[in-house]
Every structure is written in C-alpha cells, then in structure tokens.
Symmetry: C2
Subunit: 409 residues, 2 copies
Amino acid sequence: MPVNLLAPEASALAPIAGVELGVARAGIRKAGRIDTLVMRFAPGTRAAGVFTRNRFCAAPVRVCREHLAATGGRLRALVVNTGNANAGTGARGLADARRTCEQLAGLLDVAVDEVLPFSTGVILEPLPMDRLEGALAPAIADLASGNWAQAAAAIMTTDTVPKAVSRSGRTEAGSFAVTGMAKGAGMIRPNMATMLAFIATDAAIAPALLTKWVREAADASFNRITVDGDTSTNDSLVLAASGAGELALTDESSPGARQLREAVIEVAVTLAQAIVRDGEGATKFITVAVEGAGNADEAEAVAYAIAHSPLVKTAFFASDPNLGRLLCAIGYAGIEDLDVDRVDVWLDDVHVATAGGVHPDYREADGQRVMKQAEITIRVALGRGSSATTVWTCDLSHDYVSINADYRS
Amino acid sequence: MPVNLLAPEASALAPIAGVELGVARAGIRKAGRIDTLVMRFAPGTRAAGVFTRNRFCAAPVRVCREHLAATGGRLRALVVNTGNANAGTGARGLADARRTCEQLAGLLDVAVDEVLPFSTGVILEPLPMDRLEGALAPAIADLASGNWAQAAAAIMTTDTVPKAVSRSGRTEAGSFAVTGMAKGAGMIRPNMATMLAFIATDAAIAPALLTKWVREAADASFNRITVDGDTSTNDSLVLAASGAGELALTDESSPGARQLREAVIEVAVTLAQAIVRDGEGATKFITVAVEGAGNADEAEAVAYAIAHSPLVKTAFFASDPNLGRLLCAIGYAGIEDLDVDRVDVWLDDVHVATAGGVHPDYREADGQRVMKQAEITIRVALGRGSSATTVWTCDLSHDYVSINADYRS
C-alpha cells in the first residue's frame, strides 16, 4: 500500500504545448499489458539528462548519452518500454537500442540521434525486438498531448500507482507549464538520477541552462531517495523544453527563470517522493534530516546509514521505537572522530537521544506515538558544523521480500 | 532455520587448562533465562582483543579497551550479559560497566582492571544492575572447565543455535588446545570484530604475538561476514592464552606457533561462518568470492555490494536465478573505470555472465539448479589485477523482517 499517494487525476496533468504522448501494448513481459510509450516533441525542443553511474549501465543509457552529446540536446522523440531493462545484454543489447531509435526515427521522419531510448524491467535478458517494434506504430497512432496519465501508467514495473504531477505559473514574461512523470519502486538508490523520469515544459530554455537545471533538479530530488540501496542500471532523468509556450530563457536572469526553476524542482521532488511513497512494500514515508555536519559528505553518510539500515527500517515497519538502532547507524556511518556526546536525535518533536544516551525526558509512549504515524521525520544534529541534508526513504516490510522474491514470476 | 549448523556436542568442546566458565540467571530481559556468563582465567593469562569501530560503541567496549591498555593484556576474569547492550547509555552506562567489574573483582579477589565486561542485547536502555549483580555469585559457584556449551548458550540473543568449536594439536614443542564461542545473528557487519567472540588456548603467548594474532584472526573471519550490513555497537573478539598448557610462544618462529596460529584462525572462521549460518531468517549460506581486482579495497567493495544487496539476497531466498541483480551490484560498487566487458560471473560451476552480458552457454535451468542449494558460491572475476577476497553472507527472508520487527516484544 503506497503511503499517502493517489494516482493523479488525468485532468490535473497539464498538457505541454509541443509534447505528445502515445502508448501501446507490446506484451514484452506480460501479454496484453500496455508497456510501451512514445513521446514526440516539436521541432526546436531541447533536452538534457542525467543518468545512472552504475558501471553496468543499460544499453539505452549509453545510447541516450551518445545522442544527447551528438545533437547538443536536440530532441524530437523518445521511446520507453517496461518489462525488460536491456541491461547486462552486451553488444546485442546496444544494437537493439540503436535499432529501436532507427525504427522510430523512420516512422516519425526525424533524425536517429534526435531519438532517445529507455528500458526498465528485468536485467540480463534480451529485449524482444519484434514485439517492441510492432508496438511503435500503434503508439504513434495514439499520440496526443493529453495522454500524460496513460503514459505514467504505461512505464510502471512494480509501481502500484502511476506517478505524474504538473505545475504552471504566470510570470512577467509570460506563462509556463511543467508536467513530469516517473516510475520506480525498487532498486532505488539513485546516483545522479532515478529509475526513469521525464519532465517537460513548454518554455524555451538555452542548452547550458537546461543542463544546469536537470542536475540541480536531480540533486534536490532523485538523488535524495532510497528504497533499498540498490542503484539501478537504468536510472534516467530527462528534462525537455519544447519552446512552444510563451517563456524563452537564455540564462537564470531571464524573466520568469526563477519561477520556472522552482516549478521544475517541485515537480522533481514530488515525483521522487512518490517513488518512495510507492516503495516496494512501503508502509511508512520517512524523512531523514541531518544537520550540524562538518561537511556535505558527512551529512549524507549519516543520512544514508540510517536510511539504508535494515534494522532501522524493520523497526519502523513494526512501529517499534527501538531507537538504539538509530544511534548504532549514526555510529557506523564512518565519521571517525564523531563525538557521540554532542549528538542529538529527534523523532518528529520527540527528543530521543542526547549526550551519548537516551534523553532524560524521553518516554517510550512518546516514541510509540510517533512511530505509529504513516509519515515520520528522523532529525539528527551532529554538533560538528553547519552542513545539512535531507533524504527520504521507506520502511522494510514482509511485502518487500515477497515482491522481490517473486519479481520474475 | 540455520543452514547446516548444529549445536555443538558438549563432549566435542575441549576444556582449556586455566579457564573456567560459569553461568547464571539474571533475568535481565526475560525472567528465568540463563543470561549471564563469568569466565575465570589462571594467573598469568594474557589476552588481546579487537572491538567495534562503531562510534556509538557500548560502555563495556570502552572499559575493555581501557583495562587491556592499563594491564598490557593481563586477564583474570570476564563477565557477559545478554538481553541488554549497555550501549547508548551515556555516563550511567559507563559507571554500570565499571561497577560490574568492581563487583566481580571483589568476589574473585583479582584486580579490577584484570576484569573485562561485555554486554549484548537492546540498545538505549539502562542495564538493570541489581539483577546482573545478583547473578555474579551463582555464576561463580558454577565455574568449571567443562562448561563451554552452557556458556555458548548463555550469551545468545536472536541466535537459534549456540556456537562453539575446538581444535587441538600436538607439536614438537608440546600439545595445545583452542576452544572458542561466539554469539550473533543480526546487526552483523563487523568492522574489526564481530558481536561477541571469546577464544581461549592453554598455550602461553607473548603479548605482541597475541595482539598480532587476534587481528589476523578477525581479518580472516569476523571481518568477512555480513548479515544485514549493520555494524553493531558491541562487537568484541577476545583471544586469551592461559599459559597452563605445554606450549610457550614468544614469537612466530617459536616451535608450535604455526600450528597454533592455524588452529586459532580455523576456530575464528568456523565461528564467523556459524554466525552467518544462523543469520536472522537465513535459509542459504552464500560465499562471495571476488578475484582479479586491482587492489584489496576494490575486491572488498564488490564483494560487499553483492553481499549487502537486498535484491540479491531476496532472489537467493526465492531460489530465483534473477542474476542481473549480481551485475547491477557489481556495477554500483564504486569502481569508476570498471570495464564491464572484462567481468565474469559464476554461480558455483555455472558460468553466468561474460563480456557485459549473459554467457552464451548459460541456461536458466543451470542457474536454477544451483540456486536451490543451501550453500552457494558466487564467484566474480573483475579482470583488473590479482587482488581477491572472500566474504560470507546469507539470504534475506520473511523471517528476517519478522525477527527484527518483533525484536523487543
């Protein structure tokens, strides 16, 4: 059961001028499943992406990087299949990803390197090319600007809820709209990006600014979440600007830039949190906020030590305030000269630990009250400096084991 | 259900001359439970230890370090309680650990700093001193050299099987015996030592050699296992040499030193593997062997990326050869310039992956056959150099979640 996460209403998702979406059934993993998405972008669209740092990155990730580099970010179409990651597939996988782009480019009459391919699903199995290719024409026939909700559903794997959100605004230079979607529920510990996320705006954005913003958006969102600590082979975030709307930004001082940047980051953060809320087996949405760190690396190390600890995560699943496990995780996060007497820990408003031990006012009933909530903030003050970070994670439940033990069946 | 692990027969555990053990019921966590162990050592006994690097180390760990430093390793007694870790207990915890040593020293008429304290159990709760102190006299009354099996049972927490083993030998310089015990099943990712392990020999061993050997034994055994990646606050390994037997070693060239060193390491490895075999919820014993690494850090990073991956561990629980997860874990282990085309992966004798993808001869049925076994070796060749390492881990099952969700109830 996802934590406070509902499927988006189609009517709440703003169409983006210059962007059309179409879905189809390739039956890549399951017969009859809508599992293929094509997006078409107006001429002049520019895109930038961030991708997984996993060395066994998927073939489509390699092709995405090549194409974006070759065109300087010109984008006319992208294609996504779910059910098969096309990762760990060697030379054949690379040829399959290239061929998918060629096919789609031919059908849409655009250049091959203006097409980006994406895959998600099982690793180490060849992509069933005949099925994927057969779904391209039906997906193109389905292209429409109002299809964001269908698209978000088409790219799901173990997700239980489609993830999409919009923001729009009006600035002195004109109005804008941003709509994004993401998929992902397991193998989630993004490193430079998440599973798959696509965000589009109708503004025109200069390539350098687009590249800067996509990184900033990833750092504020998908780079701050973890479900199970497993960095996927296919993580990709693409931000596309069609230029079909009213805003045209050349740099961050352009009129409207501040508002649009904020909207892009809000969309990215909402999608990233949605991935955690729908994390495999999740019953709790947990915010880990670390402050008072000596530097950003320390803050992140402590936050992820807590967020990755199976013992912490099972305690939250059980609503058991077995909070010594938090101290334990802080203690092994790798800060060699940590003075535990200066560490403070809170669970929401409850001061749990201080001076190397339990806080004198802490009562089990208070911890219990917070642990029973569906959304909980763990706050840690390290007493070393002024760096801080926040990451989002979920608990570890029986369903996580069930989902991943049965993933291929 | 532990994996191929039976409780040791009491008759298979060699008494160690100069070492007596006694157990008692303090009822620290559960009324009537035998939860307290006292060990008494003959005058002249020398010991060395390695302890957790968790910064929130338990109070008894701090006292152990102080006492060993103060005495240069003289040891006359140790006391262990289970049910409460005396960690995250601040100044009070430290006073409690010291007071426990004082009480025992008084009862046994030895110096306070010749006593070492150990605790294991729940973190962040004060040690019930009255109950622990009340159990010291009954434990002393129980002291006998034949009590290793009872002692191994007394120190268990979530362990389902007591863990103890002996080796003995005859050398040109005389015979020797080594007996050790350990406890631990969760919060297992030792860093310099494991939960609690005590190994004793009747040989006399010079302090410098003892210190060297205890580190080597830890590195060969407890530093190579992981259940859940959580480094405990209380990890401790102590190696004690009573000097009551025939061997007397001043350095590694002393007659009998080679054989005794080998026996100590065998005992440590057997105990470390026993912890994994009895890992919380374990149904599989998994050896991860990494070779062809550029250096030791690389080998260890890859081995632990695999051994810690919840996705790998749930796949093994399900006996599902979803082996792309192995490549994924190798890919995110942090080797920035890894050439995935040079990586090979085997599951026992089955060649799974090569050249960035699945091996052409690999058949799902072969992977399935190996995955169904209770003991499995994952072998990874990185093709970068000549460094290698081996770590041991277990799978991740529903029972791990159940055990840790219910730990305090």
